[in-house]
Every structure is written in C-alpha cells, then in structure tokens.
C-alpha cells in the first residue's frame, strides 16, 4: 500500500516498534439484511530480528467465515472450504507441523476469535484478509451489525466502511457510541433512499488513547443499527440470482393475549447478583402484563413453590402481589428443574382444560436458571424427554441461562424442542437489562401459526416456512430457489392468525428488477440471495441435526450440511478452510469449534478445539500461541467424548 506523505510521517513516527501495522481496513456490505464483511490488514516486521506477527479478528458466532487469504513476502495463500476430513487429509499429506491459525471460541457472549500468527524474518511484509458472512436478525424493531475492532496499535491507514443497500428503503440508521465517547464524532453516516454508508476513518492522532500516548484507544465494537421501510403488514419478496428471500414483519396488529408461567431458579447458586438482577428484571416484566394476560410464578430449588396455584389475570392488584412475592425470595438449596417444568406445564394444562385460556391466546413458559439440575431427575436427556412428552402443541418454552456455569446447550435444546428460543445472559451489571430485553422480544406475540406458501412449481428448496409465533419487532425470513418460469412475477401467500382475526397477505415481485438494480450498485453484495439461502438452510440443518433422534438421520443431515457449506464456501462445524500457497506446498487449516461447555444429549460432541496447522516455508518458524485452557487438555480433547457419534463429528 502506498503511503501518502502524511501517512509516511505517521508511519515513521510509530516505526519505532518492531511490528508496524501499515493498514487495517474493514468493509461490510449489507444487502437485504445479509452482510459480507472483509477484514484486511497489512503488517511489516520492522524489527531487527524474526518475530511472530498475529492477526486476530473477533467475529459474531452467528457468522460463517467464507475465506481467509494471506500474503507473506509475496507468497500468496488462498483459502477454499472443504469437508473437514478432506481438508485434514490434504493437510496431513503436507505433513505440516505446529499451529498457526485457528478459530478459538472466546468465552464471551456471542462471538468467536479468528487467530492466526506467523513468525517472519525482519523486513517481512504480510497481508491478511479474512471474509465472513452473516444474516442480520431483526430484534426489537431493528437490525444490528457489530464490528469488533482491535488493531492493537496505532495504524496509519485505519478505515471502516459499512455499506447498506435495502431495496425497500432504509427507515432509520444509527451508530450508538459503543466504541467510546472519543470516536462518536468520527463516525460519519450518509443515507439516502435505499442506501446508507457509514465510515470511520480516524487518523493516528485521533486513535491515540491520549495526546502523547503511543497505543490505540480503538478496542471495542462499532455498532450500526437500522430498519427498513415496510408496508405495515405486507411481506417483502426479493428475487435475485435465481433465489428468493421473503421477509415478513407485520407491525400494525394488536398483541395476542398471553398466558405466562415464569419458572425461576432460586437455588443457592442464584444467591447475590444473579437473584438481585433477576428480581429487578421481573419487576419490569410483571409491569408489562395487562389484564388481558394471565400469569403465575413458580420458584424452585430442591422444592417447587407456586406464587399462585392457577393462572390469574394481570390486574394491578395481582401484579403488585407477585412483585412482593418475588422480592422476598431467598435463594438456597439444590436445583430441581424437571419438577419445576412439570409443574408449570400442569398449570397451563389445567387452565386449558378448564377453558380458562382464550383459544387465540399464546401460552408460554419462561424458565430462568443458572445451572445444572442437582435434585430429582438430573439426567438432562431425560428431562428433555419428560418436558417434550407433557408439553402441548400450543405451549412454548423459552429459556434464559444466567452465568457461566449454566449448561446453555441443554436450555437451548429444550427451548428449540418446544417451539421457543433460548438466550444466554451473564451475571454482570446489566443482566437485568439483558433479561428485560429478552422478555421484550417475546412479550408481544402478534401472530400464531404463520405459513408462507408459493404457487405450485414456482419455487424449490424452501427453508422453514411454518412458524409457531411471530413477535413484534422481529422478522420471519423464508428463502428458496426460483424455478424457471415464463412469468416475471413471483407471488407469495402468507397466512396467519392474529388476535381475533385470520389473515392471508399476498406479496408479489418482479423476478428481474432487483438484479438490474444491484448491477448499478457499487457497494452491494450481489450474491446475497444465494448466500442467504444457504446460510439459513445450513443454520436450520445444524439445529435439526442437534435434535435428530437417530444416527442415520444425523448422518443424512451431516452430508447435506457439508455439501452446502462446500458449495457456498462456509466454514461451519462440519467444514474447514484450507489455505494453500500457489504451489500447494504450504497449507493452513482452520475450522470452527462448538461451544466448549459439554453438550447434554444426543448431539455433536464438543468439536475439537482449534486444530489448525499449516505447512511453513523454510524461513518461517512456527510459534504456537500460548496454550489456552482448552488446549491444555492435550490430545484427548481432540477425540469426541460422547454418544451418537457419526462421521465428521
């Protein structure tokens, strides 16, 4: 990269260090909620001796890495995604040694870190380039794109660009100052019609922690929030590159009445911050209930107690009484999750049998827990079966896992198994806010039994198109392939039940228009529809796989995931990125692990942590990053430790 004279000065100014990051550039292209992000960095070993040069990028857990390339002193390494076993064999043939790059799950809320490190002689030039793709999920009425920026030092050419293109137009775009006060003014937003451009380009001086400091203050998240124009309750159908994506996010509907049983873990481990934050959140959550809603509270440790044996209307008197009850809870004792959930389901069943439940209402259980069961049934797979057996089709279960010890896999599995979702929150200062935010996402169900259909023989390979509920502020997305047709119009029919009415909404679109529009766009991601379809399909297959009841089923799903991930070049738990030099002599392997916490039941055992090695040119010595916790376990960690093993687990 050619430095301008000013940058040259900056460059000289910071050249004192032995490693110089010449440029650090991040570019996100978001088209119709699908983001392709590229992180590029060029580094010089400006020291007098060989040394290790690292390139760490934090990416959202929900993203798929789609490529990583490296250029070390003119030798280019190009990545390609392959089946894990294939990639490993190719690597093994190269008989490479050591570890150089990998994706190590950083134990943080929802991201992982891509780490790579090369050891190069003095004067070496290295250029790293990482690509990853992800879908923006609409939560609480907006999409949020987070870029984790951590250049680690002052950079003469530091720049972040986020380009958003939304065919229906952007209704709002914001950049909350999550990166720190000193940068708020430096983030520029320009937006018109369907496009927005956010740029952050601080000079060296603006990057400093203080006027005379030499280290960078840039270490955090640049956040972009936006929403799109939408026609109240109509759907939005987009066709591009032979694929369609259907977005549905109605807003002008009255919420359905709710029947909620809050199941709160009050075992000894909840003592302190966790309980305090839970009580605080519950106060706000209870205030949100209306007289159209019905609710009760079950608090459990080794015993199971009910605030009210039956569901009661959300009147002010009942809510006040419930708040007082919650405030007086003293956590202690063991954890009997099974009994508590059985009790909650019984309460809903009883209310339903006594016709106390409005047929158009929504019945849900919200479980808040911080740990594993220690009393009563403690086998997680048995609890999962018990809950599944007693839960009725019209009930759903939402789980919130508080803290680090919780077996989040288990909570997620029982939620997904019962038409709900799970969320992990950490018992820190804003756990109450996280709990409230989670509840806000499920507190306004607007529709039940949503189905998105298409005329016969017009589409194929459709992702999930039947949804149990739609909550205000979220968005239901269906994707698929468009079959060849004489007509230039694709039509969808969305049926659903709202409070007091049933609705069918017809949405149609021209199948050629968007590609014409995208061809004019300079910064759109033209392959968005194809990649978004694959992304959604793979995500759904991965969750189907974790719920698959037999090894044969799991094997079939595994094959499908691998085929898709290789075709669309996604690094998933079942594929790996093989990065090879031009002459294919040098190889680097990167794959992505699963969560480190032991999974509960039939499902893929924890993926071996990073096993990333690469063949190195003679002049490159490999250094291994300091062993992390996980790696201390040595070889045995490489072997899966659990049941229903299928190839490629």
């Amino acid at each position: 990269a050619i430095l301008t004279s000013e940058e040259q000065e900056d460059f000289e100014a910071i050249r004192g260090h032995d490693i110089t990051v010449k440029s650090y550039k991040v570019e996100s292209r978001i088209t119709s909620r699908f983001a392709h992000t590229t992180v590029r960095s060029s580094v010089v070993n400006s020291g007098s001796k060989a040394q290790s040069i690292g390139f760490n990028v934090q990416i959202p857990k929900r993203a798929f890495i789609s490529n990583f390339t490296m250029n070390v002193n003119g030798i280019t390494f190009v990545g390609s995604v392959k089946e894990k076993t294939v990639a490993r064999n190719l690597y093994a043939q190269a008989r490479a040694r050591g570890k150089a790059a990998g994706i190590v799950r950083a134990n943080s809320q929802d991201m992982e870190t891509f780490k790579t490190e090369v050891h190069v002689p003095p004067g070496s030039n290295i250029e790293f380039e990482l690509h990853y793709q992800e879908m923006m999920h609409r939560k609480l009425g907006f999409y949020e794109h987070s870029l984790y920026l951590q250049p680690g030092r002052l950079v003469p050419q530091f720049q972040v660009d986020v380009y958003i293109f939304e065919p229906k137009g952007i209704s709002m775009v914001q950049t909350p100052n999550t990166l720190g006060e000193q940068f708020t003014e430096l983030i520029q937003v320009t937006s018109s019609n369907g496009k927005a451009h956010i740029v952050f380009k601080p000079n060296i001086q603006q990057q400093r922690k203080c006027d005379t400091c030499t280290d960078s203050a840039i270490d955090g998240v640049l956040t972009v929030k936006y929403d799109v124009n939408r026609d109240s309750n109509a759907g939005e159908l987009q066709v591009s590159d032979g694929h369609f994506v259907h977005f549905f996010a109605p807003s002008e509907l009255s919420p359905l009445p709710k029947n909620i049983v809050f199941v709160i873990d009050v075992s000894g481990s909840m003592w302190g911050v966790k309980m305090k934050q839970t009580v605080e959140a519950m106060q706000a959550i209870l205030d949100d209930l209306t007289v159209d809603d019905q609710f009760s509270i079950i608090d459990f440790n080794h015993n199971v107690r009910c605030w009210s044996e039956e569901l009661v209307p959300g009147s002010t008197i009942q809510i006040a009484d419930a708040k007082k009850y919650i405030e007086n809870i003293k956590p202690s004792g063991g954890t009997n999750i099974n009994e508590a959930l059985m009790r909650a389901v019984q309460m809903l069943v009883k209310a339903s049998n006594q016709n106390q439940i409005d047929p158009r209402s929504v019945s849900m259980i919200i479980l808040v827990s911080d740990g594993d069961p220690t009393v009563g049934e403690i086998k997680l797979s048995t609890i999962q079966k018990n809950v599944k057996r007693v839960m009725r089709e019209e009930f759903s279960l939402f789980s919130v896992g508080i803290g680090f010890d919780v077996d989040y896999d288990f909570l997620e599995r029982i939620a997904m198994d019962n038409r709900g979702t799970a969320q992990r929150i950490y018992a820190n200062h804003d756990a109450a806010e996280q709990l409230r935010s989670f509840y806000s996402q499920v507190s306004a169900p607007l529709l039940r039994r949503i189905q998105v259909q298409f005329p016969e023989n017009s589409v194929s390979d459709v992702t999930q198109n039947v949804f149990d509920k739609y909550f205000r502020g979220s968005e239901l997305v269906v994707a698929g392939k468009v079959l060849p047709s004489d007509s230039d119009t694709l039509t969808s029919f969305t049926t659903a039940s709202a409070a007091s009415l049933d609705v069918t909404v017809e949405t149609e679109t021209d199948t050629t228009e968007l590609d014409t529009e995208l061809a004019k766009q300079q910064h759109s991601f033209n392959g968005f529809a194809r990649q978004m379809w694959a992304y959604i399909t793979i995500k759904q297959l991965i969750s189907d796989r974790s719920l698959a009841s037999t090894a044969a089923k799991k094997r079939r799903i595994t094959q499908r995931i691998m085929a898709l991930a290789v075709e669309h070049q996604f690094v998933t738990p079942l594929t790996a990125l093989l990065v090879e030099s031009d002459d294919a002599k040098e190889r680097l392997l990167a794959d992505s692990p699963k969560d480190s916490k032991q999974g509960c039941c039939s499902g893929p055992p924890p993926m071996a942590p990073v096993n990333v090695v690469y063949q190195h040119p003679p002049w490159v010595q490999i250094t291994t990053p300091p062993p992390s916790e996980v790696e201390k376990g040595g070889e045995e960690w490489l072997l899966p430790r659990k049941i229903t093993l299928v190839d490629n687990d």
């Binding site: 026609d231 109240s232 309750n233 109509a234 002008e252 919420p255 709202a498 409070a499 049933d502 017809e506």
Partner: protein, 243 residues
C-alpha cells in the same frame, strides 16, 4: 360526493349530489335490524376554489353484533373490535376474516367487506398524483342491490333497498341542448329532473364509465326522505336516529 342510485324494477338510474362540508359524516346505510351501519366522512380538495368540492375520505362499516368495525381511509384499512386493533395498508393484497366478517383487500385498488355472506360493501381507492394542486386521494363506495338488509334499513343509500315507485314523463329540451329535462313523480313529489351522466369507476379507475341518469337537484331533495342534513351523524359508527 356524487350518488348514483340504480332502480332495477324501473330500469332507471337516478343521480344526485350532496354538497356538505368537510368533516361531516354522512350515513349511507343504517340497519338497526341487521346491526349494520355504513358511514362516509367528507374531505375537501386541496385548494378551496370558489366551489367547494367534497369527497369521501373515510368509509366505515360497523357490525354491531360482533362489535367489529372496518375503517377504510385512503391510507389504510383498520379493523377494530374494541379490544384489538389491526391496520393494513393498501400496499398488499390481503384476505382477513374475523368471525362473520370478511375483508378482501386488492393492492392499491379496492376492498370488499362482506358481513355474514349477505351484506357486501366495496370501497374503491382513487389515488391522485401527490403534487396535484387541487385533487386529493379519495374513496368511492359501491353497494350491491341484492344486499339482504332487515326491513328497518335506511340511510342515504339504504332507503332505496325498497325500490320506490318512480315515473318520468314530459321529457323535453332543456337549457343545455345536451341535457334533456323531464318531470319525475316519486314518493308523492313532482320534481324537475335533468338528463345527465356520472361515472362508475369500478371497471376503469382512470376514466370511469358513464352512467346516464336523471339528475335530482338540491342535494336529492324530494327523492331522498327528508333533507340531506338529516343524514349527518356524529361518529363513524353511529346509526341513524330514526325520526
């Protein structure tokens, strides 16, 4: 707004205008027997030229037994049942059913409201060019003659569900050579009527198709029961107060 009343037995169309004020709510159908009321609220064109033109800006259909009302405006179609409110735009074709009520929206064109499969109202959307100096978006309403009301039905349009005896005679040249005049006998009144035409926009929203009719002057006086001001009601869901 213009009114065209089709009289199948006489095989005749009769027209009249109601020149009322913006904001006024005119009762079009009031059937306390079936529990159905249809009202229309007036809006005016942008610039108050010397002659004030008023149009229907909002049409409301209220079905009392279910407590459900459908309020159609030039920007949205809203359903309300006292507890829940749902609003749809003209931007999407949609079919909505709520108990005995069915609402069929055709994107940016019209909406049909059907009550218990025996009373139907169709509202047509007229979208004008946003920057037009005078015209504004407005609505048309079309009510079939075979709606099954109760005998108590009334209103500016509802009163004609029982077709009155009409005879027209002494047709002669009028002041305007294109518009003949004649004498109409109806409801015991003798009226001077003029041959004219008005537009039915159901088949061609832009130009409309001409409906030739006998035009009643003075806001339909003598053809409608009482005076048109008798049909101004306080709310969109108000029934007509029976005299």
């Amino acid at each position: 707004p213009h009114f065209i009343i089709h009289l199948p037995r006489s095989d005749m169309d009769v027209c009249f205008n109601i020149d009322s004020k913006p904001g006024h709510i005119l009762n079009l159908v009031s059937d306390s027997g079936a529990g159905v009321v249809v009202n229309g609220q007036l809006i005016s064109s942008k610039v108050s030229t010397k002659k004030l033109n008023t149009y229907f800006g909002t049409i409301s259909i209220y079905y009392q037994p279910d407590g459900v009302s459908v309020t159609v405006s030039t920007s949205s179609i809203a359903l309300s049942d006292g507890r829940s409110n749902h609003s749809f735009t003209w931007g999407a074709t949609a079919e909505i059913t709520q108990n005995g009520l069915r609402v069929s929206i055709v994107k940016n064109s019209h909406v049909k409201i059907t009550i218990n499969n025996n009373i139907q109202v169709m509202v047509l959307l007229h979208r004008v060019w946003k920057k037009h100096p005078v015209n504004v978006d407005f609505l048309g309403i079309y009510i079939p003659n075979d709606n099954q009301y109760s005998p108590l039905v009334h209103g500016l349009i509802g009163q004609f569900s029982t077709e009155p005896e009409v005879s027209v005679y002494d047709v002669h040249e009028g002041l305007d050579p294109l518009k003949k005049e004649a004498t109409m006998e109806v409801k015991g009144n003798k009226l001077l009527v003029t041959r004219g035409w008005q537009k039915d926009y159901r088949h061609d929203k832009k130009r409309g198709s001409n409906i030739y009719c006998w035009f009643i002057h003075n806001s339909g006086k003598g053809f409608i029961d009482g005076h048109y001001t008798d049909y101004i009601v306080p709310d969109l869901n108000s029934f007509l107060q029976t005299p």
